[in-house]
Amino acid sequence: MVTGVGVVAPGGVTRAAFWDLLTAGRTATRRISFFDPADFRSQIAAECDFDPRAAGLTPQEIHRNDRFAQFTLVAADEALKESGLDLGATDRDNVAVSIGSAVGATTRLEDEYVNVSDHGRNWHVDERYGSRFLYQALVPSSAATEVACRFGAHGPAAVISTGCTSGLDAIGHGHQLIEDGEADVVIAGAADAPISPISMACFDAIRATSARNDDPEHASRPFDATRDGFVMGEGAAVLILEELEHARRRGAEIFCEVAGFANRSNAFHMTGLRPDGLEMAEAITDALGQARLDPTAVSYVNAHGSGTKQNDRHETAAFKRSLGQHAYDVPVSSIKSMVGHSLGAIGAIELAACVLAIRYGVVPPTANLENKDPECDLDYVPKNAREQRVDVALSVGSGFGGFQSAAVLRRWS
């Protein structure tokens, strides 16, 4: 059961600000402000206006941690507050932590490298110029440790790092811990903060990111015929997953249920996708099977919708393959059109959006969708959010390495 949601996203830190952005169909993509992007092919991103001190972190937590771990703590804090869970009255031996991240502390690792290598001059770097918390940056497991320590969670803890499906997979992992009786409560989510020169440069090199630099607000265009790649994002979302009886005993408000989770690999290519969507379809079918739901029961599909040419066709094919004729009837949207693609974090942020869609009866739109790619012929909820009851939400993800994941959330009654 999902009993709490916390979000740090571009366009507004906090769950409420995030939901306002999505339901208004506003975009948070803009010219990069964290560094001068003039030399880069893609100069745009969806940045978070994030003040860690104002968000409640201690000076030591800020000093010790990369931005991605700071996001994690803030999102976890909000999710726990919202869940009303009194940790003091909870058996914390059975509280687990599962945090996804694709690239961990990459920003801090790069910033510090510039110092210890004297601007890339020296291969044999000088540690006297580095932070004393470089080890926390080297091992991204530090994010799970920080959450465990802040909340006294003594259950199993791990960072799950399956590239761009990390967020879905981390929440799926948390869900399985509860199914297997290894935890009563899981603080499950994901974070990434990859808006840095090395990340922008490596996606430039494979032309995966959008170069619509003169129009950043409209650059993330999933399913549109003129899309030209994804727009980098950053952020975090954390869900509180709770075993049903545990939630009931304390009278928790239950947002919805994680009814199924499955993942597969395409065994094809680190970055390429076959147009048939076969393995993603397998994951969707497995997840729906776990939920004992017919494809026609799905009321909303939250797409991966990254806005690359191949992705949007790949998953359109996967939806048709797994949902059959219903793929044409069900609303499908990509919130990456508004908050960008925050790599491993986005899967958790998208699941948070699904939880809120079920709760508030609103389907978020695909912003910037003017003219559909003829090969993408589903109902992608262009531009405007839609008020509609959502009982079952399906969210999917696809990542470098060939990872394909699907999760099914269902209204709890």
Binding site: G120, S142, T145, H154, V159, T162, C202
Partner: protein, 399 residues
């Protein structure tokens, strides 16, 4: 409930480039610590990607992935398991990675800052990140089952095996599991030095003079299978069963060890209960052996508390260094070989035993059926795994 058994082992470690070389070296008590740029490290001597990795893949991947691919090839050969001979969805890849593609990443960031963004290669986007080894392995061997990548520093190797068992129980018959690590590039070493756990004199678990560890590279990959599926395909060997697993977190302080060993005790007890064995059933323990005075004292106390008797304890990793996520995987490989041959290797590099434990000083003949392995990760991760000699009658009992 499906039972998870290990049918193949592949090792790339300072102690050897094959499983049997590693085992011979470990029993012979050979130390493999050398100096690199003024630091002590456990390097894998003579490891060349050429010969074990497709040249096309060599340029696309980091040293850590080369080692992973080489160990996987060995493990598959050892198990005589060919993923291509099975349904593609019947095999998964579940590996641990503590720190990713260090040397590759350093090279690319260096290129970016010294030469500009056009000097960054297309492969940075797929070589450095923590999922690179798993992705490449699944592509190379055509496996489409559920993949996972666990990051929990030194506990990761055990966590990958616990996760592999979960994947098997949910219906995927075979899993490529374990992990390797290659953290000896200059920047990765500098990062590790800030942990304040590196020794300048040597890695001596449970020694009275222990003052930290030596970082090392390498690890192990294991083929873990559903016992019934392994029997059906006629697997010729079973090293042992992953009978119990548990993980806890100290949740005390991100840098400092917890003041007590309660959570390590809990991980060990939960793993024993999960395996349905009592402490008295355990023949020997392969300890984490972090080799700081405080961490060793806490683990020694935890072992005494759980066992209440002088159980034999070893930590052969003293010969090779701590391999981060590769370490737990290698330790499990070593423990399975000890079960197979009825001989327990000695604590590596132990001169002056410093704790009230039955530390194994010389390889000891010991026909055990059950072994407990501990691994801890920086920040407070505790994982324990119970390996059991595999008995087929048990399989029939389980129906």
């Amino acid at each position: 409930m499906k039972r998870a058994v290990v049918t193949g082992i592949g090792v790339v470690a300072p102690s050897g480039l094959t499983t049997e070389d590693h085992w011979r070296s470990t029993l012979a008590g050979e130390r493999h610590v050398s100096e690199l740029d003024g630091r002590l490290v456990g390097q894998v001597p003579g490891f060349a990607a050429e010969g074990s990795v497709d040249p096309r893949l060599i340029i696309q991947t980091d040293r850590w992935t080369w080692m992973s691919l080489a160990a996987t090839r060995q493990a598959l050969d050892d198990a005589k398991y060919d993923p291509a001979a099975h349904d593609p969805y019947a095999t998964s890849v579940v590996l641990a990675s503590g720190s990713g593609g260090n040397e590759f990443g350093q090279r690319e960031i260096q290129a970016l800052w010294s030469k500009g963004r056009r000097a960054v290669t297309a492969y940075q986007s797929i070589a450095w990140f923590y999922a690179a080894s798993v992705g490449q392995t699944s592509i190379l061997h055509g496996t489409k089952g559920p993949n996972q990548v666990l990051v929990s520093e030194g506990a990761g190797g055990l966590d990958s095996l616990g996760a592999a068992r979960r994947v098997i129980r949910r219906g995927t018959p075979a899993v490529i599991a374990g992990g390797t690590e290659a953290p000896l590039s200059p920047y990765a070493l500098v990062c590790q030095s800030t942990s304040e756990r590196l020794s300048t004199t040597g890695y001596r678990p449970f020694d009275a003079d222990a003052d930290g560890h030596v970082p090392g590279e390498g690890g192990a990959v294991l083929i873990v299978e559903d016992a019934a599926a392994a029997a059906e395909r006629g697997a010729q060997q079973i090293y042992g069963e992953i009978a119990g697993y548990a993980a806890t977190h100290d949740a005390y302080h991100p840098e400092r060890p917890a003041p007590d060993c309660a959570q390590l005790v809990r991980a060990m007890r939960k793993a024993l209960a999960d395996a349905d064995v009592t402490p008295d059933d355990v023949g020997f323990v392969v300890a984490d052996g972090a080799a700081t005075p405080a961490l060793d004292a806490l683990e020694a106390q935890a072992i005494r508390e759980v066992f209440g008797r002088p159980v034999p304890v070893t930590a052969p990793q003293g010969y090779v260094g701590r391999l981060c996520s590769g370490g737990g995987a290698l330790t499990v490989a070593t423990a399975l070989l000890a079960l197979r041959d009825g001989i327990v290797p000695a604590v590596g590099n132990l001169a002056r035993p410093g704790h009230d434990l039955d530390l194994v000083r010389e390889p000891r003949q010991l026909a055990a059926d059950v072994v407990l392995v501990n691994a801890r990760g920086f920040g407070g991760f505790n994982s324990s795994i119970v390996l059991k000699r595999y008995r087929e009658e048990g399989l029939r009992d389980a129906g």
